[in-house]
Symmetry: C2
Subunit: 379 residues, 2 copies
């Protein structure tokens, strides 16, 4: 497989490095502006018009020009492999359609879970089994922060700075800490696992930027651990629900054992039962290895990750409901219908909400600044 | 893919059931003596000589006649898929060779981990990455027993009876509780992950039949949990070590979070880092689903799970050494060179052995009846 590689950043250089040692894989040209070398070009035309290049690997990240380059590559009949979850969460349906028209591959196995072959396994499982639910801890940065707060009693700002110093978090960390990165990965998992294209704005997403040491203490007092979890399920009648929110998981749960920046992704199949995958959700070599797994998979004849029936779907998160931990500024009013026990903690009121609709809880947090909430995992 | 199915027991009937709903998969004939139906035959010749049958699925278990049937099927140019770890641990090299000669497939993805696609992922990882180590909790029966002793303070005999009543343990539980089932799965993992065929007698294997509530208490007092673990590693110079033994894992480790009869299999790759897979290691539908994953994989062109270089390898477990928990009858003598702290517990002496060679520890336990030991996981 002769490859044109777009971008020679962290993941791109990992792909380049691993490809050197693989038989049957040859990176012929690399699109990159920062370096010069015989194999480097700064012109996408030189890659998409090269008849020897059969497959384009995109590791630039971002929406543009990644989208334009993907369209060009597919239009020129090149297979396309990417680890870019933002690109796939927005343009996945369109690019898959284009790939089908052109009879070439569009794979993104490394875009959810980095080194974990979660989507690849989910796809195979979906073709044998009915997937009932899926989710997990899909963002390493936020897990690093929450674990540091839990295990080392750090506050949020210190844990975030440490994550930035270690290269786990971006200088602008909002897409991680606001849960957007997790939500985009959940979109990919819903497409692959449920054949359901869900729009970003239809997934209630609450991140961890409001979390306080108080919340971690409250979790600990209940024998719980705080994690940022993605969750989606598809009922037998096709009804979908999906959300991203901090969750108080049981201390003996698999989620609680996920430390540092590790990722944990699971699905539940009617036949398979609960299957889970744990490993490096990001990082140069793990992610690059999974990109090359996709390259090998294209060589073996694999083409698309979603099924023929994949179509737009609209989650109903108003009828989905469960127990919540909720912290609001003292005196803030909750909907009268929520059964909730209240404790006063200085400037905050802390509630144990027995049962509230997911969409209402997310709406309440959006309305009242400083609010933090977390779903309570069933014991 | 038109299939001949050998055996209509638990897994076989699961394969039959799931195959009904899969496009492109048709079970044409079933070899079975206990039932009668239009598609059932009691004569293997009717399957291997049927020109329409392209693939034979074996779910009978046991060495004979499974081995003879496998040879016949492959010799007649039929692809062969099995979940039979005993068969593959003994005849894997020979059957793979025969399959290569005949140009047909020999796959056994469900033979280690049941519903967990561990071997399939390990194989893909091996083709991209150098696998450094692998292992896990590969037997659900023993995990059920150990977890029951740990979480519900049962004694061994009661936990075993319960496992038998639930159908997790056989009437003769020795292959599970003596660690043989785990060892066979480790043989398969070494073949796939390291391209190393290891003979059963070369893997030091110690099970859990000697475990006492005292051992579980001692573990708990140290903040540890007892699990039966398989482990193998391959050094850069190719030197291999491999063993199966009870292990005192840390309470915060992923192993400690593996409850009931769940399985947990992991590998560590130079690029991938540590990747792990958790799910149903056995059971009708999970295992059957993975058998059908292999069937689909054959249809997509997949043929063998071991690489071209796969060859016999001999683990060196004399130079492998680590810390152990050891309980021997009071007064039993330990090798003088072992640095060990002793505590007296009634009829038993309990040692914390700082460092002992794996093969010597296994030999000591074989020599002194009633002895129980467990490796100590590094914190």
């Amino acid at each position: 497989m002769t490859i044109g590689l777009l971008g020679m950043g962290t993941i791109g250089s990992g792909v380049f490095e691993i490809a050197q040692s693989l038989e049957g894989v040859h990176v012929k040209k690399v699109l990159e502006k920062r370096f010069q070398a015989e194999y480097i070009t700064d012109n996408i035309e030189e890659i998409v018009n090269d008849p020897e290049i059969e497959l384009v690997v995109e590791t630039m990240g971002g929406l543009h020009p990644a989208y334009e380059f993907a369209s060009q590559a597919l239009s020129h009949g090149k297979h396309f492999v990417t680890a870019n979850k933002l690109l796939v969460s927005v343009y996945g349906p369109e690019l898959t359609k284009l790939a089908k028209e052109k009879g070439v591959a569009f794979l993104y196995g490394a875009a959810c879970g980095g080194g974990i072959a979660y989507l690849a396994n989910l796809e195979i499982a979906r073709n044998i089994d009915r997937i009932v639910a899926l989710g997990g801890i899909l963002n390493g940065t936020t897990n690093y922060i929450l674990d540091s707060m839990q295990s080392r009693n750090m506050d949020y700002a210190t844990a975030l700075s440490e994550a930035q110093a270690l290269g786990y978090a971006e200088r602008d960390p909002s897409s991680d800490v606001d849960g957007l990165d997790t939500m985009r990965k959940l979109i990919l998992a819903c497409a692959v696992g449920f054949d359901a294209y869900v729009a970003p704005e239809e997934i209630p997403t609450f991140g961890i930027s409001a979390v306080l040491p108080l919340d971690v203490e409250q979790a600990r007092a209940k024998g719980r651990v705080l994690r940022l979890c993605a969750f989606a399920r598809r009922a037998e009648d096709g009804a979908l629900s999906a959300w991203v929110e901090p969750t108080l998981v049981c201390a003996a749960s698999p989620e609680a054992a996920i430390l540092n920046n590790v990722n944990y992704a699971w699905y539940q199949g009617e036949s398979y039962g609960l299957m889970s995958y744990t490993g490096q959700g990001a990082g140069k070599l793990p992610t690059a290895a999974n990109v090359l797994r996709d390259v090998r998979s294209v060589a073996a004849g694999h083409r698309y990750m979603t099924g023929e029936k994949c179509a737009a779907a609209h989650p109903d998160n108003a009828s989905a409901r469960h127990a919540y931990y909720l912290r609001v500024p003292a005196g803030a009013e909750l909907p009268a219908v929520w059964a909730a026990e209240k404790r006063c903690c200085g400037a905050w009121d802390v509630y144990e909400v027995k049962d509230a609709p997911v969409s209402e809880m997310h709406a309440l947090a959006a309305r009242i600044p400083g609010t933090f909430f977390a779903g309570v995992q069933e014991a």
